[in-house]
């Protein structure tokens, strides 16, 4: 049902890696290391500033793909892959976007499953990639039926 969306992208959205948001996130994953949360510690580190935890991009805005309405209920997260060119710095402005990389359906023992592969990207001001992300989302037959109504 999402075959037509393969290759579709969102517009880039500007995100600021906010200090407070990084702190809240680091606390929520039980990792409030001073490299993430202490300004002074960050300055003395080899990065000369604070960095964000590697899964922090979960909290960012990647924009919408036109016409693509995924429910926030009933989806199964199958896989998640991050690749970084460098760490994400607290305070920097980045541009994020998402693309539908692939969509396929498979028959399984518990009915038909649909797989949606999304890629996401974070770029700096000059358009240089900081990180890329690939996400595999599994849609069960029950959820798919609801979507088609």
């Amino acid at each position: 049902m999402f075959h037509d969306f393969i290759g579709k992208k969102s517009e880039k959205v500007k995100n600021v890696i906010e200090r407070g948001a990084v702190k809240k996130f680091a606390e929520a994953i039980g990792d409030p290391h001073p490299l993430f949360v202490s300004e002074e510690y960050g300055k003395k580190s080899r990065f000369k500033q604070n960095i964000a935890p590697p899964t922090f991009p979960r909290a960012l805005d990647y924009g919408e793909i036109e016409g693509m309405n995924l429910p926030n209920k009933g989806l199964i997260h199958g896989e998640q892959i991050y690749h970084y060119e460098r760490p994400l710095f607290v305070g920097e402005e980045i541009y994020c976007s998402t693309e539908i990389k692939n969509y396929y359906e498979r028959k399984g023992s518990s009915g038909e499953l649909s797989f949606l592969v999304l890629t996401r990207r974070g770029e700096d001001n000059d358009g240089k990639t900081i990180f890329t992300e690939e996400q595999v989302v599994i849609i069960t037959e029950a959820v798919k039926k609801e979507l088609m109504v």
């Binding site: 996130f25 990792d31 990065f47 989806l75 199958g78 896989e79 998640q80 991050y82 970084y84 460098r86």
Partner: protein
């Protein structure tokens, strides 16, 4: 000489065992990540999908697992982090985080990583590549 340079292939970092999962842990993660899928916070919504109760966000577990490497950021950063979600984490589950060195080259260390529950069942599994910055 950095802290991980002595580690041999097949050796592991010290495991970290988390406190039993609470609802508040998941409410906090929902707020911090913006993932408000109610299956992670509201019992009725989880039950509607045939689950015995709410389950942790897979990304909560993935986020936690990365902290095995946080002490080593003075020498490395996480270049690649890939995870397959294998099993559900329920309230009161006790999750243990594990990393074993699988491969090394001059600039990179590759670890096999996983989180297991109190029944020693994998809940997430994957790979972390540390790279010198």
């Amino acid at each position: 000489m950095n802290a991980l340079a002595e580690l041999q292939i097949g050796e592991s970092l010290q495991d970290i065992t988390l406190s039993p999962v609470t609802r508040l842990d998941l409410i906090k993660y929902a707020g911090a990540s913006g993932d408000y899928n109610p299956i992670h916070t509201i019992d009725k919504e989880a039950e509607k999908l045939g689950l015995p109760g709410i389950i942790a966000h897979g990304m909560w577990t993935m986020g936690n697992l990365a902290k095995l490497f946080t002490p080593y950021y003075e020498d490395y950063f996480i270049q690649d982090y890939s995870i397959r979600f294998k099993g559900m984490v329920f309230l009161d589950d006790v999750v243990t985080l594990k990393a074993e060195l699988a491969e090394t080259d001059e600039e990179k260390l590759t670890f096999k990583v996983k989180a297991v529950n109190q029944h020693d069942k994998d809940v997430i599994k994957g790979k972390v590549v540390l790279s010198t910055y």
